[in-house]
């Protein structure tokens, strides 16, 4: 068997693959008609990053408005649309689709040695539904009443036809239905692919953590998203078909919407988070030159997080007064245990390693630190008395922005890590590190003042705030953080343009461990010309470093006691 790291060898493969490709369509027709998971993954990546930029622009306008107490940049009505669409774009159109549409779509089949997803045409349908959903939701801005304005959670009865009569609200519901179906189909595809298309030797406990997390994410999608879809249809029926599911006047129950929404919404938090947990779980061991520490423990932690996430939805509803507080408090607190296990798995993976501070690794360490902050402040919110006094204040805003900005750091880590595999070219490391520092420091400067604002009583979703509250300085500081994050995004775009086809990546630029690094960059049409023997969760490492297999503490490589 020839050495996969031999560049001439891989170039020869690329040329072969080029000849194969000429049989199919090329250019724009290829992008429109493809069922190749790699091309679909690229389409998802580009669309999701565009959504990140759009959602980020909304955030910058919001922070500019809040830099002074009586901001006049936007009106009260426009402000309500802006934060609604900021949340909706980031949650529905960026974070989820980027995780399971973009990177998972590209990486998972290759990581398990499969030629494509299990249902390639369904995969293409997922993407087109997603793109249509994005356009549908955003087109609300072009209607006479403006975009949806009831917050990304659309609490009934604020979202009914009396309080939100505009077409923007219907486009929001429609867009969310489309992206919801896209997510469900992707969930089906990921689950089926991971269960049925693994290469010979790739047993469940030899799957990389990223693939494991995507399997659990896929199952969570199948459990949670249909509930949201059903809820959205009920909401639409209430608005247009005269049903009274969420209206008191007709004998309905408004708080039912909150139950439905959060029954989807809390698993959704992990649907968003688990893929990024998976990304950094790939990146941290690779850049420490070590195996994933506590691999099996981490898988069981992921499974318990998923199981617990289905029983904690009402911690978003403590202040409604109609939920059983101790049960949901206990369940929510318990999630801290498996999450803590993951935290120590990441630390253990670096422990006594050879830690290389590449841009991807810096992003991942930034993820771990930021997620630690978001996780710990989440524990406060699991306690009903503490939730009572912080609910709907900026403390909550700061908590979940620590969490989701950690995900953005993870996403950037994923792009620096897998981008070369997707395109065949590396990104510039120096610009990447600068981007990291702007993003990481910006995130902390954004969120820390918000924690304090919440503790000083500033509610969320305020377009203007009183002069005499002394909230202005903290808001301005937070806005500075938003500017730093904006600069980091510009640096990313600059990096992509500057590094365009400049630094050929080779097959395995990071001495990485999993199967996707065994094939060419980008991989050929059906991903592999040949596969190594799969005898652990890191077959490429075993192939390249046969003398350095994983060991248990206290033992040597040949199994004897140290």
């Amino acid at each position: 068997m020839t050495d996969v790291l031999n560049p001439t060898e891989s170039h020869a493969h690329s040329e072969d693959h080029g000849h194969e490709e000429h049989h199919g369509p090329s250019g724009i027709i290829k992008w429109l008609t493809t069922t190749d998971h790699k091309v679909i993954g690229m389409s998802y990546t580009i669309t999701a990053v565009v959504m990140l930029v759009i959602g980020g622009l909304f955030a910058e306008i919001i922070r500019a408005q809040l830099a002074s107490p009586n901001g006049t940049l936007v009106s009260l009505a426009q402000y309500n649309q802006l934060f609604t669409m900021h949340g909706s774009v980031m949650i529905y159109l960026f974070a989820g689709p980027f995780a399971f549409g973009a990177l998972a779509n590209f990486v998972v089949p290759i990581q398990i040695g499969a030629p494509d997803m299990a249902f390639p045409r369904l995969n293409a349908l997922s993407y087109w539904l997603y793109l249509t959903g994005c356009i549908t939701m955003l087109s609300g801005f072009f209607t006479s009443g403006g975009a949806a304005n009831f917050g990304w959670v659309a609490y009934a009865p604020l979202s009914n036809s009396i309080n939100a009569p505009g077409a923007g609200a219907d486009l929001w519901i429609g867009g969310l239905l489309l992206t919801g179906f896209s997510a469900i189909f992707t969930g089906v595809n990921l689950t089926a692919t991971i269960f049925y298309l693994r290469a010979p030797g790739m047993t469940m406990f030899r799957m990389p953590i990223f693939t494991w997390n995507m399997l659990v994410t896929g199952i969570l999608i199948l459990l949670a998203f249909p509930v949201l879809t059903a809820g959205l249809i009920m909401l639409y029926a209430d608005r247009h078909f005269g049903t009274h599911i969420f209206s008191v006047a007709g004998g309905g129950v408004p708080v039912l919407w909150q139950h439905i929404f959060w029954f989807w919404g809390h698993p959704e938090v992990y649907i968003l988070a688990l893929p990024f947990f998976g990304m950094v779980s790939e990146i941290i061991p690779v850049f420490s030159k070590k195996p994933m520490f506590g691999y099996k423990g981490m898988i069981f932690a992921t499974l318990s997080i998923a199981a617990l996430s289905l029983g904690v939805w009402a911690h978003h509803m403590f202040t409604t007064g109609v939920v059983l507080l101790p049960f949901f408090s206990a369940m929510s607190l318990m999630i801290a245990v498996p999450t803590g296990i993951k935290m120590f798995n990441w630390i253990g993976s670096m422990w006594r390693g050879e830690v290389w501070f590449s841009a991807a690794m810096l992003m991942s360490i930034g993820f771990v630190i930021t997620f630690l902050i978001g996780g710990i402040t989440g524990i406060y919110l699991a306690s009903p008395p503490l939730d009572f006094f912080t609910h709907d204040t900026y403390f909550v805003v700061a908590h979940f922005h620590s969490v989701v900005m950690a995900l953005v750091l993870g996403a950037m880590g994923g792009l620096y890590y897998w981008g070369p595999k997707m395109t065949g070219y590396l990104l510039n490391e120096a610009i990447g590190k600068a981007q990291f520092w702007f993003l990481f420091i910006g995130t902390q400067v954004l969120t820390f003042p918000q924690y304090l604002l919440g503790l000083r009583g500033m509610p969320r979703r305020m377009a203007v705030y009183p002069h005499d509250t002394q909230w202005q300085f903290l808001n301005q500081l937070s806005s500075v953080g938003a500017v730093l994050i904006g600069v980091s995004t510009i640096l990313f775009v600059v990096n992509v343009m500057y590094s365009w086809k400049k630094y050929p990546a080779g097959d395995n630029p990071w001495d990485a461990q999993t199967l996707e690094w065994f094939t060419t960059s980008p991989p050929p049409h059906h991903n592999f010309y040949r596969l190594p023997k799969i005898r652990s969760e890191r077959p490429t490492w075993d192939y390249n470093h046969p003398e350095h297999t994983s060991i248990v503490h206290g033992h040597t490589h040949d199994g004897t006691n140290a």
Binding site: L76, N80, Y155, P157, L158, N163, V248, A249, V253, P254, V255, K290, M292, F293, Y295, K296, G297, T319, G321, V322, V323, L325, P326, S329, A330, L333, M334, I341, F344, I347, M350, W351, G353, E354, V355, F357, I365, L372, I376, I379, Y380, S383, P384, P385, L386, F388, F389, D392, T393, Y451, G457, P459, R460, R461, M462, P466, H548, I551, V552, H557
Partner: protein
């Protein structure tokens, strides 16, 4: 047809209380020690009601745990990253993947911490959601975009929209029982200095009690997005001496006050009759 959906946790909790007190007898003692305010505030305020102080001490406890565990983990992350920064391109470290004692430790210790935090949570929560009997009752109605405060058994009425910031007058040192409703969308009744908030929801009667310890005027506002003027939906809580409170209540006992009360009450009965009639049976079952 008064809605009887709540008191939220009142009845079942009284039954559980004795059992819990025995289980976690150590925690109130610890809370007593803490009421000396030896711990830093961690950004929060002690507040001006008896329950707000318990919440504040709970906040301090959680913060102590957060600082210790978070600080330890943060230090470990930095140590692992910087201490083991690579020295050469080619060195390959020992490929240790499992360390069972460490794995058991970082599973069990967080479980113990969580049990402690949960126990402390229960103590404060039971205190906060209990509904002791009281003679001071206030009916609070939230609407787009303002507040109406009425006092059962009297003609007192306070009504105001957005920046008019209507004042809810209550006596200091007495249990004040709030009946919270909404006539349209969901609002949030939030008084920062009381360390407390609760949703005002259509079709749901939310009840809670607090005991303001000193006189003064406290700032309140709506926390739950309720439409266009959400940012301006203010109110105030004016805590006065019990004598001043009685005087204030009686000041409405004039022909003009009675007429104003009746006019407003008729209007609001019509306005809110639909949601009072459809009693929300679901929230009974939730307990």
């Amino acid at each position: 047809m008064e809605s009887t959906a709540l008191p939220p946790q009142g009845a079942p909790i009284r039954k559980r209380r004795t059992r819990r007190l025995r289980l976690i007898a150590a925690l109130p003692i610890a809370a007593l020690v803490l009421s000396g305010c030896t711990l830093p505030k961690f950004g929060a305020v002690a507040g001006d009601t008896s329950t707000s102080r318990s919440v504040f001490h709970l906040w301090q406890w959680f913060s102590v745990a957060a600082v210790i565990i978070g600080g330890f983990t943060f230090a470990l992350i930095l140590w692992a990253a910087f201490r083991y920064r690579r020295k050469s391109d080619s060195a390959i470290p020992r490929q240790v993947q499992y360390h069972l004692p460490a794995e058991v430790m970082y599973t069990i210790i967080p479980i113990l911490v969580i049990v402690g935090l949960f126990a402390a949570t229960l103590v404060v929560e039971n205190k906060e959601v209990s509904n002791p009997k009281t003679s001071v009752n206030v009916n609070v109605l939230a609407f787009q975009w303002g507040w109406k405060f009425t006092y059962p058994g009297s003609y007192a009425l306070v009504y105001g929209q957005t920046t008019q910031s209507p004042e809810m007058v209550i006596p200091a040192g007495e249990n004040v029982h709030i009946n919270l409703r909404s006539s349209d969308v969901i609002h949030g009744f939030y008084v920062h200095d009381f360390n407390f908030s609760r949703f005002a929801q259509p079709g749901v009667l939310n009840q809670f009690t607090f005991n303001a310890s000193k006189t003064g005027t406290f700032f309140g506002q709506c926390t739950q997005l309720c439409g266009l003027y959400h940012s301006l939906m203010f109110f105030k809580v004016k805590v006065v001496t019990p004598a001043a409170y009685q005087t204030w209540l009686n000041s409405f006992n004039t022909p003009a006050g009675i007429a104003a009360y009746k006019a407003a009450n008729n209007a609001s009965t019509q306005q809110t009759s639909t949601h009072v009639k459809s009693k929300p049976t679901y929230s009974k079952g939730a307990h």
